[in-house]
Symmetry: C2
Subunit: 202 residues, 2 copies
């Protein structure tokens, strides 16, 4: 839909903004208008930040994280435990685990899951590179932190098989009741997992 009342530059901006996740056509128009109104404080800094990211950000050749350096800040961080690799589907998952700040370990970003439907095989998501990294004698544990979805768990099972011959412990995230969760609102699968994996109260 074109806006004869706005310049074609604004129309183009709206069309591009609408392609961001979380923004539909209506919110893209609102966002464009906010940008136009906040030219100095938002529009120009955001344009500059995007250009900067576009110029400098790259994918880490070791773990698949995005950063301005290669290897990334996480991979070269000497204060991290080199014996643990946490395998995640996406960079967003890496960020989420970092915000939880429980383990200072290394990561391996698959960038997807094995999916027969989409034709994504093990090598498309760099599982070979993960096995190579796990061959390093310094690595003692691989934590599979895939999403608790069918695709995520299929991928986790496949990786477990591939790592079986290696001298590494393969672990996975605990399943159960989320913190703050109410039993009444949880699905049967989660409740079953929480019951089956119950722990002593201590």
């Amino acid at each position: 839909m074109t806006l004869a009342a706005a310049g074609s530059e604004i129309e183009r901006l709206i069309a591009l903004l609408a392609r961001l996740p979380g923004l539909g056509p209506r919110s893209a128009r609102r966002a464009a208008l906010t940008l136009v109104k906040k030219r100095e404080t938002l529009l120009l800094p955001l344009a500059a930040a995007m250009a900067e990211v576009g110029e400098r950000v790259t994918v880490c050749s070791v773990c698949g994280n995005v950063d301005t350096t290669d290897p990334c800040t996480v991979c070269v961080d000497a204060s991290r435990d080199p014996s643990v690799i946490i395998v995640v589907e996406d960079v967003a998952d890496l960020w989420a685990l970092e915000r939880a700040s429980v383990m200072r370990a290394r990561y391996h970003v698959l960038g997807g899951t094995i999916s027969a439907l989409d034709g994504t095989g093990p090598e498309d998501i760099g599982i070979g590179r993960l096995v190579e990294r796990a061959l390093d004698p310094a690595v003692r544990e691989v934590v599979l932190a895939m999403n608790a979805t069918v695709e995520g768990q299929t991928t986790a099972h496949y990786i477990t098989e591939r790592l079986e011959p290696l001298a590494v412990t393969v672990s996975r995230l605990a399943s159960g009741v989320p913190i703050g969760g109410e039993l009444d609102y949880l699905d049967e699968g989660t409740l079953a997992a929480a019951l089956n994996q119950r722990r002593p109260f201590r």
Copy 2:
């Protein structure tokens, strides 16, 4: 919240994206990640479009619309009826009315409403300029297309009083049941307006 795992450039991009309406911290992270992944097709074009808009877009000195020209495309469009001015609160409202494409008229964008609470007076939203425009003998009708809110209607009443001495017809948008609306879900005010302003069925 900082992301030690991402570069500071990405952190800055996320912080700026989170200031757009419709994007919270979580969706701003998703948007940033999408941008990084779609560098060529989305990130760089969007950065360029923003820089372009920042450089070229300006506010029309006649009606308050945003455009790359001043006066704007709407104001200089000779095919539009010069005898009608549609008064709106915001540029977004102008765009919405243009999408409805019912009247090819001129506009006057107030950029706000009269608000005792916020200390916004008639002159802060350019009502004086509207009165000046309405003094032009070519103008025969002023359509008040303010939001159906207390502030919008207060502003509409004030403008009506200011235009009273002039030789222009002042009209307002019809109130009633929105197209596709179900009576059961509508508030009493809307139903009362729809009943009071009922029309012959023809």
